[in-house]
């Protein structure tokens, strides 16, 4: 399957960031779904079953760590295996991150250190892995 036909859910509470990512990904022909916090993100994820989730950590109502725990805890086979890229400005050794289990998710990007084009490149790489 051509990866450009694939779908991505962005869970991020900062509107300018979600808008920028959505614009860039749509320009690359991905189907983009968006959610402003972990709660909306879970609902959207189960409904749309995207090929990949881009996930922020600090969000109102429900953060990225709780999102991951609830996503992986259920019986849904898709939810247990969908690829997730954490996109945050929190370093991986911050206490809040310790709620994520060891190797899940395997992809962790610091927003301010990555250009938007490199993020799209990473998404392509992860989708093809």
């Amino acid at each position: 399957m051509d990866d450009k036909a694939k779908s991505i859910l962005i869970v991020e509470d900062e509107k300018p960031l979600i808008n920028a990512l959505a614009e860039k990904l749509r320009a690359e022909n991905y189907t983009v779904y968006r959610a402003g916090n972990g709660e909306e993100g879970l609902k959207e994820a189960h409904e749309k079953k995207p090929d990949l989730i881009l996930l922020d950590i600090k969000m109102p109502h429900k953060g990225g760590v709780e999102f991951m725990q609830e996503l992986r805890d259920g019986n849904d086979v898709w939810a247990k295996s969908v690829k997730v890229i954490i996109l945050t400005n929190l370093k991986p050794d911050e206490p809040i991150i310790s709620g994520l289990s060891g190797t899940d998710p395997a992809y962790y990007l610091l927003k301010a250190e990555w250009t938007i084009s490199d993020i799209v490149e990473k998404i392509r790489e992860v989708l093809n892995s």
């Binding site: 960031l17 860039k24 370093k91 084009s117």
Partner: protein
Amino acid sequence: MSTPKKKFKKPDEIITEFLHLASHQLLTPLTISQWYTQLLESKLAGEGNESYNDLLQEISNANYRMREIINMMLDTSRVESNRYKIKKDKIQLSNLIGSKLSKLETEFARLGVKTRINNLAQADHVVYSDEIILGKVIELIIHNALKYNRSTPRMVNIGLRKNKSDKILISFVDNGIGIPEPDQKRIFNKFFRAGNAVILEPDGSGLSLYYAKQSLYLLGSKIWFRSRHGGGTVFTVRV
């Protein structure tokens, strides 16, 4: 009945907390500025809008400077508050120094910098340390050696050798402005900047050498220097 004494945080702890909080808060607007500049750059690419490209390049440069300042604040607060988790691995020092020099290549070309590296090819220059901290300290020392320097050409000579206890010493010799004698005692203090450095470059956080000393201490390493006002500086790191 006595009232329990309220515990106040020490001023240093408050500063550390402030640095951590402020740097995290600043990273989000910085990311927005960076990503939108990049989006504009790609929209304008190939459309013959060179004048806009130059303006966007200036914004990118400013974003980069801001990120360096914020990261310095964040890294300092993480080291001070023990949030930073040390990860020690085998490091080939020649590779690490080489990668840091490559990162600064563009700046070297712009400033006409000459670097000389001694003894870097020796296979036994392998250390067991934290690559992130060590790499950052190397980068900071080289960066300072060039920033506080107006000689032609600006020079940094990097050398590796072993001391009597078989520890590796990395030395950085520059031909910069040097550190005035009265300021030398305080050069590793938090927020301190030498008088001649402030005159030459008014902007600066006074955190880089403080970070270097504190973070190397966590690794069991050490940094020291000798310097003469107007006569350059030699920083040495014992890994």
